[in-house]
């Protein structure tokens, strides 16, 4: 890849790199599964593992896919296409430094990696924000995407503060509040908000569904935003140590849960009424993702309302909640959409190359269906298995389910290469 590469190549590169990080994530989970038995809070090895997935896979793929999806969803061009090339390399270096810093608990590397990550992601964020300025007619999707990138910026600031706090040795009781804000802002504010906005735009295009009603959109935006804002305020006033702050956190969590449930309900309602009834691989992944998201909401509320003692005795519920919400939802939705996006990108790449006889056959013909469905079955079986094994903190089961997930993610990557070659 070089700075003169087309946006298609750059997007493809991000997606393939992200898929390699996905394999690494499960490999790390397999090799270092004993870490789940140690104290979970601010466990730097767990932080390292989590960021291999969230930054290595999720954000990497989102950055690459936004090249293609934002113009599709919003009808605008990316403002500074070439910046993606520099961001890509800076981001990978930053990520490796950060992950190594967390794994070996080296505050210098954590701070350096954190600052480099901040710099590279902020360039990406500014690029997207500048692109959004070109939107002529703002609708709910545009607002949803705007909110998502504002939350990415806030989450990034909190994350960098935490990375620096290791260096300056100021990891104190406030770190718990910062961590909660970071998690909720990034996952609910950025990931769920972005996926909701993109889904509401892409579902009508891919499956000929109706567009969501304005009332649903407004309800979703209000509930999600109110929930996240209350949780952030709670953490600013050091909410876990006073009753008022704790109340805000509970209220925020409940509003957030309600927003997510409304989104899931709307997803089912749109998909059930779709014109294109055929089930393709993406449909299965999207349904799985939404089911896992609902499971995560259930577990999150269980954590809220279970007695503290019960949770202290079984911290596995945090891991199970995090895994099913992170990989179960976000991972499945991304993998599902990649089954649509990747063939499109390959077609475009081929078109750029030959400019004649450009596009032969259907996207579906490019995909090795049996491999895709084997992969789907593996993921569908392994995600609940891994969540359950994390819940009961059974190392053997964690290893077995991680091994299944390694196999599934390797098949996924192979499938991408096969698609690229056969195009």
């Amino acid at each position: 890849m070089n700075s003169g590469d087309s946006s298609v190549n750059i997007a493809l590169r991000h997606i393939k790199t992200g898929s390699v990080f996905l394999i690494l994530f499960f490999y790390y989970m397999f090799i270092d599964s004993n870490n789940f038995l140690t104290y979970f809070f601010m466990n730097t090895k767990i932080i390292s593992l989590t960021h291999i997935f969230t930054l290595g896979f999720l954000l990497m793929v989102i950055m690459g896919a936004s090249y293609m999806l934002l113009p599709v969803a919003l009808g605008v061009k990316i403002a500074f296409e070439k910046s993606f090339y520099y961001v890509y390399y800076a981001y990978i270096i930053a990520l490796i430094v950060f992950i190594a810093g967390m794994h070996y608990f080296n505050p210098d590397l954590i701070a350096l990696g954190g600052c480099l990550l901040f710099a590279s992601v902020i360039i990406y964020n500014i690029n997207i924000m500048t692109s959004l300025k070109k939107i002529r007619k703002w609708d709910y999707t545009s607002f949803g995407i705007l909110f998502a990138y504002v939350y990415l910026f806030i989450g990034l600031l909190i994350g960098t503060y935490m990375a620096l706090s290791f260096y300056f040795n100021i990891v104190g009781k406030y770190i718990f509040d910062s961590l909660m804000s970071h998690i909720y802002v990034m996952l609910a504010g950025f990931i769920i908000m972005l996926f909701m906005a993109i889904s509401y735009r892409l579902l009508p295009m891919f499956y000929m569904t109706k567009t969501p009603k304005n009332f649903i959109w407004v309800t979703d935006l209000i509930l999600l935003n109110a929930g996240i804002i209350l949780i952030v305020i709670s953490s600013i006033i050091n909410g876990f140590y006073n009753l008022f702050g704790l109340g805000l956190f509970y209220a925020g969590s409940i509003l957030l849960s309600a927003g997510i449930i409304v989104f899931c309900f709307e997803f089912f309602s749109l998909m059930n009424g779709r014109i294109k009834k055929k089930w393709d691989i993406t449909t299965f992944y999207l349904y799985l993702g939404i089911i896992f998201l609902l499971a995560a909401v259930f577990m999150g509320n269980l954590i809220l309302f279970l007695p503290e003692r019960a949770i202290a005795e079984n911290p596995g519920i945090y891991y199970a909640f995090g895994f099913i919400g992170l990989f179960g939802y976000a991972g499945m939705v991304i993998i599902g959409f990649l089954h649509k996006i990747f063939p499109f990108l390959i077609s475009l790449k081929k078109f750029e190359k030959v400019k004649k006889g450009a596009y032969k056959g259907l996207i579906g013909n490019m995909q090795k269906k049996y491999m895709q469905y084997i992969d789907l079955i593996l993921f569908a079986a392994a995600v609940p298995a891994a969540s359950f094994s994390l819940l009961i903190l059974d190392i053997s089961l964690i290893k077995i389910s991680s091994a299944l997930l390694i196999a599934a993610s390797v098949i996924f990557l192979i499938n991408l290469f096969i698609m690229e070659k056969s195009a």
Binding site: M68, P71, V72, A73, L74, G75, M205, F206, M208, I275, K276, K277, K278, K340, P343, F344, S347, L348, F351, K355, K356, A358, Y359, G361, L362, I363, G364
Partner: protein, 102 residues
């Protein structure tokens, strides 16, 4: 032999929308066709299912190539238009029925 709009439409049926897996004619994407026999030119006025369609250049190119392959056409022009905006009611009813059945 004179080329007709129907000949062009039949030819364009070979171009399939990759996502919906239906040809662009039955999808209702072709709005108008103008044939200039004297200059051996055909102009197609068509739309796409969405403004940000990532394959817009590919589909436009394929339509141009498809027109040029027709006997009696030397110049092809493809105009992408957005008015009226495409919607599902523009799909041929029997195709829509088929999509719903799957």
């Amino acid at each position: 032999m004179m080329i007709t709009k129907n000949d062009i439409l039949e030819n364009l049926k070979q171009i399939i929308d990759p996502e919906l897996e239906v040809n662009i004619v039955d999808l209702g994407l072709i709005y108008n066709i103008k044939i200039d026999e004297q200059n051996k030119k055909a102009a197609v006025f068509m739309t796409l299912t969405s403004k940000g369609c990532p394959l817009s250049n590919v589909i436009k190119f394929e339509v141009e190539e498809s027109l040029k392959k027709l006997e009696g056409i030397e110049n092809a022009e493809v105009n992408i238009v957005w008015e009226p905006e495409w919607n599902y009611s523009m799909i041929k009813p029997e195709i829509l029925k088929k999509l719903r059945k799957h």
